[in-house]
């Protein structure tokens, strides 16, 4: 082994990426060469010291650790409860964790937790009867559906999961009944708001007091203010008429792109169902996406040509929300609807929308995993899903702009940053992975679609300069916007990549992408304004049309952070520092 190979092997040992063969060779080198062994010991010691010396210490993570510690210490002395034992792990996962913990050194955290969990599973005889019941129920409700559901093929990883919709049949003109409350409430995370350690004032001015919420089904949704730049978060001001026109004047090909957007909004209007929803894989998700397309263009219940369309869509979402706050059982659909509701709330300040959004946001926060990510059914197991997480993160950030004072929102956003940086990012620096196990960083396996998700996520969470975001953009350099006739274009990924590239400071790279995007989108738009055949589109074309429209609205939908909004006198007292924390 020459010097360079030795040094490279040393770093790979630190990274945990040594192959078994290399590890054996490295070990044998250390045992036969005392000088190299000395160097190894010195380097390893410094490596551990530097890790400790430079580790990030933030308060949110400290809160998380404190909660875990108190949980382990205190609950060990309390009578066990079903919800504690089952949590959201499958029994199989729990046994696996216990087995691993029992093998861990006695006294270690893992070992203590395993013994504690074991005691609670098989401790009191009366309790074991209950556990047996739970096991049977678990087999029925967790394993059986898994066995019956075929394993998805690789290409379906980002598909919007079509859980049985609780919404009525899309052609049913009757009023929408409220969705049934799920039998099992999701586990609750009690996360107190993070005390502000930042001397800066809040990024957005406090919202006006919540007006009384009307429960009448046909009550009008009346915006509390006209849509104007003042009082809006700076990232949103491109949605106002004057600002949008100003931005478009400076945008190449904008006349054509705006014609494309107008065609899409008209098509969506023509295809809205009587009950206010849009048809597709999941009416709630499709309605959320359609609303996002309208809201991006500054169409609200009080403004624009499509105010009635938007009002009907929002009312549909309000009607589908269950007592817990969920718009849908499907995690994608719920997040997309929350995202739309939050944007509508920011633009209009309508009390009903705000109340609905706040409940919806709590569902997302309660569904967040300890490591900051999300999974299907808001499962708290070890698996995370970056695609699912991407929509939750967009919804959380939009909610923070609508009302930054919501309980636990700061902590949830901070956890999301940690998730993207630590769990979802591939160790080889090639981008973000689709799925993984929390606490076990993926060595490789990045996908370009997920790299779009992760990069945009970090950008909107205020970390555009994080190494992972920069590496993400680098990995996206070679992605091209291809839409050849007769093919299924990857509009899901393009939606994210378009926004991530738009937010980057390298304008040449953005312009190059923009050129491809505009050319492909305008070429493939049908004369009636819709697009079709996007990946995961299942026939209604709403999915493809909304994502394509949102891409063509990118210029004014969220202003980038590096392009600060023009200074304007602000009677509402919003802070100059808003830009730095805004959604780009």
């Amino acid at each position: 082994m020459n010097d360079q190979d030795f040094i490279l092997a040393l770093e790979e040992y630190f990274d945990g990426t040594l192959t078994p063969e290399m590890r054996a060779a490295f070990g044998s080198e250390l045992s036969s060469n005392p000088e190299r062994r000395r160097l190894f010991e010195e380097q390893a010691r410094q490596h551990i010291r530097l890790h400790a010396q430079t580790s990030k210490i933030d308060f949110t993570e400290s809160q998380h650790i404190a909660m875990m510690v108190m949980d382990i210490v205190e609950k060990g002395h309390e009578p066990a409860r079903f919800s504690d034992i089952l949590h959201d792990q499958t029994l199989q996962e729990r046994f696996r964790a216990i087995r691993k913990g029992l093998r861990a050194p006695r006294g270690s955290n893992l070992n203590r937790y395993a013994r504690f969990a074991l005691l609670r599973l098989f401790g009191p005889p009366t309790f074991s009867v209950a556990v047996s019941t739970i096991v049977v129920l678990l087999l029925m409700f967790v394993w059986v559906p898994k066995i019956m559901r075929p394993e998805p093929e690789e290409y379906t990883v980002t598909q919007i999961d079509l859980a049985p919709s609780k919404a009525p049949p899309v052609l049913d003109p009757t009023p929408i009944p409220p969705a049934p409350t799920p039998e099992k409430e999701p586990p609750t995370i009690t996360f107190s708001p993070t005390p502000s350690r930042d001397p800066e004032p809040p990024a957005t001015p406090p919202l006006p007091p919540l007006p009384p919420v009307s429960t009448a089904p046909n009550a009008p949704l009346v915006p509390l203010r006209p849509l104007a730049p003042t009082g809006l978060p700076p990232g949103f001001i491109g949605r106002t008429d004057g600002e949008r026109e100003r931005i478009l004047k400076e945008t190449p090909e904008s006349e054509r792109t705006e014609k494309g957007v107008a065609g899409a909004l008209k098509w969506l209007h023509d295809h809205q169902l009587e009950n206010g929803s849009w048809a597709g894989q999941d009416p709630v998700a499709m309605t959320g996406l359609a609303l996002l397309a309208y809201l991006a263009h500054g169409e609200t219940p009080g403004t624009g040509r499509y105010s009635e369309t938007v009002t009907k869509g929002l009312k549909y979402l309000l009607a589908t929300q269950d007592a817990r706050g969920a718009y849908a059982q499907n995690v994608y659909a719920h997040a997309i609807a929350t995202y739309a509701m939050a944007e509508a709330c920011t633009l209009t300040r309508i009390g009903e929308l705000r109340a609905s959004m706040e409940k919806a946001v709590q569902v997302i926060i309660q569904g967040q995993q300890d490591a900051g990510g999300f999974d299907y059914q808001y499962s708290k197991g070890a698996r995370f899903d970056t695609s699912v997480s991407g929509w939750q993160i967009q919804a959380l950030k939009a909610a923070a702009l609508a009302d930054p004072a919501q309980p636990s929102l700061d902590a949830a956003l901070a956890k999301s940053v940690l998730f993207l940086q630590r769990e979802a990012f591939a160790r080889d620096g090639s981008g973000f992975v689709y799925e993984g196990k929390n606490g076990i960083p993926s060595a490789s396996g990045a996908k370009w679609t997920m790299t779009g998700v992760g990069t945009l996520g970090l950008q909107i969470l205020g970390k555009p300069h994080a190494a992972q975001a920069r590496l993400g953009l680098k990995a996206l350099r070679d992605v091209t916007f291809d839409w050849l006739p007769g093919t299924k274009p990857g509009v899901y990924g393009y939606y994210y990549v378009t926004q991530a590239k738009f937010q980057q400071e390298n304008r040449a790279a953005w312009q190059e992408w923009n050129l491809q995007m505009v050319r492909a989108l305008l070429k493939n738009q049908h004369t009636d304004g819709h697009w079709e055949n996007g990946d995961y589109d299942q026939g209604s074309h709403v999915y493809t049309t909304t994502l394509c429209a949102l891409m063509l609205e990118v210029y004014y939908r969220y202003l980038p952070t590096f392009e600060k909004a023009p200074e304007k006198p602000d009677p509402t007292g919003s802070q100059a520092g808003d830009v730095s924390v805004d959604v780009q």
């Binding site: 010291r49 400790a52 580790s55 809160q63 210490v73 270690s108």
Partner: protein, 185 residues
């Protein structure tokens, strides 16, 4: 935060304020981690013993007598837990076990003989880090603060993996020499 202020937060924990324990964790985590890092055999061991220390701390926090000595008290616990862990693992690693792990464990056990000088070393390392040239400082930040692998740094900086690995090797060696030079009388 000085020792008296920390004692006040500990008092809140002793009086049942659960939120206050997060403040305790926040206040002492960095110092405990640095303390453990000097003698653990791996980063994983640092993190595991750190977590076990917090559990032990919380279990015993009622016994702490507020005399402005909370951090030394916590470090004492961390020290005992680390020694226990090192000895337990040394026993577990048999002669046919992983050679690299055995080397690291032996080195770690050996290092515990100089535990009393740890604060001095940590202080010196902080000073040495500040003296690094900009490019080296950035590499350290990417490797440790951002937690990037060598592969990822090489991609980010348009260098080869070998260049990155060699640069990191030299930086660590430079820091070690700087630290020892400063500490050794």
């Amino acid at each position: 935060m000085n020792a008296e202020e920390l004692d006040q937060i500990v008092l809140r924990v002793q009086n049942g304020d659960r939120e206050a324990f997060a403040e305790v964790v926040f206040a002492i985590r960095r110092e405990l981690r640095i303390f453990l890092s000097a003698h653990a055999s791996s980063i994983t061991m640092v993190e595991e013993v750190l977590q076990t220390t917090f559990i032990t701390l919380y279990e015993n926090i009622a016994k702490y007598e507020r005399r402005g000595t909370f951090i030394p008290w916590a470090k004492g616990m961390a020290r005992n837990l680390l020694l226990k862990e090192l000895h337990a693992r040394s026993r577990d690693v048999t002669s046919d076990g992983d050679l690299i792990e055995r080397i690291m464990l032996r080195s770690a056990v050996e290092s515990t003989k100089g535990m009393d000088r740890e604060e001095e070393y940590a202080e010196k390392l902080r000073g040495c880090l500040k003296e690094l040239p900009e490019i080296s400082h950035r590499l350290v930040q990417q490797r440790y603060f951002d937690g990037l692998s060598v592969k990822a740094i090489a991609k980010l900086t348009n260098r080869t993996e070998t260049w990155t690995a060699v640069a990191l090797f030299r930086i660590r060696d430079l820091l070690r020499k700087c630290m020892m030079k400063e500490v050794t009388p």
